[in-house]
């Protein structure tokens, strides 16, 4: 079922959002509005709208950055103190958003005036949002250090969606609340063209630089401007038909662009990149029984994108002879663990899992030993096959 929930539904939602949003914009622009009800009720609104919007906007950005700039995010969290601060800020914003959302919901129930301008879709949307932020807050509070492991678990799944080579398996190992949170997010995206959510895409940033005064000339002589207040033709004139055709074509094209790779995935659900040997570096200078983090560049091929990505591995030269190469991802929830030279063990900062130099678990919630990677040595140079494994489960399953 994973491909349905975590690949088909997301793509369906995105197709609906893009095509529906464009169709609604061109066919019924009048209905694009934030539908503010401040005129009718402005006491509770302040306590609802302001915390909600600020809280949720920043949190949304925090969800998006790790998808597109994972290394930046990892770097930001590399220091435990910084990570703690991020976690605290995130939790506070989450609670703020919930507080605001609850105020907004109560307001629409308790104020007769606000209730009078609340549509059925408003209620659907409010319910969906409440579920979403509640699940989000639960995850934040009960699965600690999500700001860190997110970048190794759900973010790669999201990135795979945007790269058009979806990997639903990346998310199936996560707890059900996380999976619900992910699924509901796409349900909300699918609701986009049918609710007031469309106002998100009309945020008027150009106000920052446009001239204060707007003058529009209707006639010839000066450069003509946009349309007036008036309505658009209702009957089927030739121009009306042309307009409709253009609208359909536009939204259709947008839908197809999103739908094709999604369909391709459903018909032919195969990971698109194979395993290759990557050159890591010289093993000559490696010390004995002291793990070293080595990084290397690897060519990755996903959908239309070919790019070099940077990976790192822990390499140990064993006193007994031979080497061990560990994936740097904690098998618990996917954080980057570290070698502690003083205690002579690996330790994960997120949930405190501890591993021996051989990768065995000696403390913490990790369900299995550190993941080893296949390697070979040629003329003193180390080659590694980069792979990822599902986190959070006792078995080592390739993703």
């Amino acid at each position: 079922m994973a491909p349905v929930y975590f690949a088909v539904i997301p793509y369906a939602a995105m197709v609906i959002a893009v095509a529906g949003g464009i169709y609604r914009y061109f066919a019924d622009r009048f209905s694009y509005s934030s539908f503010s009800s401040q005129l009718l009720e402005d006491q509770t609104l302040f306590w609802g709208s302001v915390p909600w919007h600020y809280g949720i906007t920043i949190i949304l950005f925090a969800h998006v950055i790790p998808i597109f700039a994972p290394s930046l995010w990892v770097w930001l969290h590399s220091d435990p103190m910084r990570m703690l601060i991020f976690e605290l800020i995130g939790s506070a914003l989450g609670l703020l958003a919930i507080f605001g959302l609850l105020a907004l919901i109560l307001r629409r129930i308790l104020s007769r005036r606000a209730a009078a301008v609340t549509s059925v879709m408003d209620w659907v949307l409010l319910a969906g949002l409440l579920l979403q932020v509640s699940a989000g807050a639960y995850i934040t509070l009960f699965y600690r250090w999500g700001s860190m492991w997110y970048v190794y678990t759900a973010a790669p799944w999201l990135r795979s969606l945007f790269m058009f080579s979806p990997r639903p398996d990346l998310i199936t190992a996560l707890p059900w609340v996380v999976r619900f949170h992910a699924l509901n997010a796409f349900v909300l995206i699918g609701l986009f063209p049918f609710t007031r959510l469309v106002h998100i895409f009309t945020v008027p940033v150009s106000y920052l630089w446009r001239p204060y005064q707007v003058v529009i000339w209707n006639g010839p002589g000066r450069e003509a401007g946009a349309i007036g207040t008036g309505g658009n033709g209702g009957g089927v004139t030739r121009r009306g038909f042309f307009r409709k055709a253009v609208i359909w074509a536009l939204s259709g094209a947008a839908g197809i662009v999103t739908a094709v790779p999604a369909l391709r995935f459903i018909i032919n659900a195969q990971p698109l990149s194979g395993l290759v040997w990557s050159k890591v570096g010289d093993v000559g200078p490696l010390p004995v029984d002291s793990p070293v983090s080595m990084n290397f560049e690897m060519r990755s091929t996903e959908a239309y994108m070919h790019q070099m990505v940077l990976h790192d591995v822990w390499v140990v030269r064993r006193s007994a002879g031979g080497f061990a190469v560990f994936s740097p991802i904690c098998p618990h929830l996917g954080c980057h663990y570290k070698w502690d030279p003083e205690m002579a063990h690996f330790e994960c900062p997120c949930h405190g899992s501890v591993f021996t130099i051989d990768g065995r678990v000696i403390a913490g919630p990790a369900p299995r030993p550190l993941d080893t990677l296949p390697y070979r040595i040629e003329n003193g140079t180390l080659y590694v096959k980069w792979e990822r494994f599902q986190v959070g489960i006792p078995k080592k399953v390739r993703v």
Partner: protein
């Protein structure tokens, strides 16, 4: 120089009888739809009074209009907020009037009169809210303080009274000295509109050809900053469609050569409409002048349509000959520029409003001299019943001299006419009075004719209009009048 044309207006307050015909005409055409019940694009206020919405003039509360900025006109800012702040406040506009600052619109449960079950008492139609549909108590309405009703509460709170001393205020509300007059208000179609400047979406615009300020209903996203930005509170929020709406100066009527409905229907014939030519390059500088120079600065922007240099430049700037002809016949030009009889309302808001008022020459406190009711031997000796400072606060940013000059002219024309029609005033003396007021006999005659005798053609010189391109001539613009408003041809629904 960059010459533009502006459809401008003059309201002659001495002639307004406060009948509200104008408001009703407007409402029947434009705001009889759900969501707009509470809007009065044209409203008539009693002054002193708090107005509609309550205390709209109090910019400490609503922050409408512009700050002056530098003297050369740069760095002008909205009083409301800076640009970044405008975006930051988008989730909650702290300066937005609430519906109760206007009033909650209501109707009556008329159906109950016929549907009520049999009972011992007669059924009554109770007030029901037009927003919620539920029963309500009527606690405010349009013109709640009409004709000084409840003056201890409403008129006493008039922000313009701040210009008076306590003693003057006391006298103003004593029975023998009481005075009031009406101020009909519509959108001023300002040439430096703050509503346009405040709209984050850029949905409000000024039409280039005639200067009418409109809200594009397709671009408006309900950010509601225009409502706060306009110091006259002449943009309203349609709570049903989630769009701002405002007076459109009946441009569809004007496009077919008719005067706007409120002008057309005005019982007191107080309204004049015509084109003014002005220099758009001077807007920034003129609106940045110290408060008391604003009236003359605005007058300075208005150009003489008879000046060949002006007409030459106007043609270069794309105005056609018909527009220039219309500007020459404009009654507004005469009142505002030629005779300097009309003033903008609250020029200190710095939006350069293009609706001008001839201030009311309320009954002069007169003396009876030798059995004759006389306003003083030199006709200026009488004490004005309306405190000069009060009128100056309304129409001249506190500069009483502007009002005084106009009062002199208005009295002089009356004296001159009395000398002619009744003949109990020496013609020489009358001309002396005219001269002292700075008027020629010809000007006095013209003022008299335009004020007292003018017909439709003289009062409303509707310039040739450029039709909005999207208006489909073949469709009936009234088709969706009841739900979407005149001119909207498509059904509008709150679908989602």
């Amino acid at each position: 120089m960059n010459i533009r044309a502006q459809v401008s207006m003059v309201f002659h307050l001495d002639k307004c009888i406060g009948c509200h015909t104008c408001s009703v005409a407007c409402k029947n055409i434009w705001t009889s739809r759900p969501g707009t019940e509470y809007m009065w694009w044209n409203n008539v206020e009693t002054k002193p009074g708090t107005g509609y919405p309550a205390l709209w003039e109090d910019q400490g509360r609503y922050r409408g209009g512009w700050t002056g900025g530098r003297r050369d006109g740069t760095k002008a800012k909205l009083k409301l907020q800076g640009r970044a702040q405008g975006l930051a406040n988008i989730f909650f506009n702290p300066r937005l009037p609430a519906i109760d600052d206007y009033y909650e619109p209501w109707t009556y449960s008329y159906r109950h009169l016929t549907d009520a079950p049999q009972a011992d008492v007669q059924p009554v139609a109770l007030p029901v809210s037009q927003i919620t549909g539920g029963r309500m108590n009527i606690e405010a309405g349009p013109n709640w303080d009409d004709d000084l009703g409840g003056s201890e509460v409403y008129a006493a709170a008039d922000p313009n009274l701040a210009a008076l001393t306590d003693e003057e205020k006391r006298q103003l509300f004593s029975l023998e000295r009481m005075m009031f007059f009406y101020v009909p208000r519509i959108c001023n179609h300002c040439i430096n509109p703050a509503c346009v400047g405040a709209c984050p979406a850029g949905a409000i615009y000024k039409r280039g050809e005639d200067g009418i300020v409109l809200v594009s209903q397709d671009k408006c996203r309900a950010w509601r900053m225009c409502i706060s930005g306009c110091p006259y509170k002449k943009v309203y929020f349609n709570w049903r469609t989630g769009k701002s709406e405002k007076c459109i100066l009946c441009y569809p009527r004007q496009e077919t050569g008719q005067a706007p409905a409120c002008f057309h229907s005005c019982v007191g014939r107080i309204r004049y409409l015509g084109l003014l030519l002005y220099d758009a390059d001077g807007i920034a500088r003129a609106s940045a002048r110290p408060a008391r120079e604003l009236v003359s600065a605005q007058r300075g922007l208005i150009l003489d349509p008879f000046d060949p240099e002006v007409t030459e430049q106007a043609r270069r700037d794309g105005l056609d000959d018909k527009a220039i002809q219309a500007a020459r016949r404009s009654p507004v030009y005469k009142y505002v520029k030629e005779w300097e009889l009309a003033l903008p309302l609250h020029p200190e808001f710095r939006t350069l409003p293009m609706l001008f008022y001839v201030p009311s020459l309320l009954p002069v406190a007169a003396i009876v001299e030798g059995g004759l009711y006389n306003t003083g031997s030199d006709y200026f000796g009488g004490v004005m019943r309306a405190p000069l400072k009060y009128l100056a606060s309304l129409f001249a940013a506190g500069d009483g001299r502007e009002i005084e000059r106009i009062n002199r002219k208005l009295v002089a024309v009356r004296v001159y006419r009395r000398a002619q029609s009744v003949g109990d005033i020496d013609a020489k003396k009358a001309e002396g009075v005219l001269e002292a007021a700075g008027l020629s006999p010809q000007a006095a005659e013209d003022i008299y004719r335009l004020t007292a005798l003018a017909g439709f053609e003289d009062r409303f010189v509707v310039p040739p209009f450029m039709r909005e391109r999207m208006v489909e001539v073949l469709e009936d613009p009234q088709r969706r009048k009841e739900d979407a408003g005149a001119g909207y041809l498509r059904k509008i629904r709150r679908r989602f």
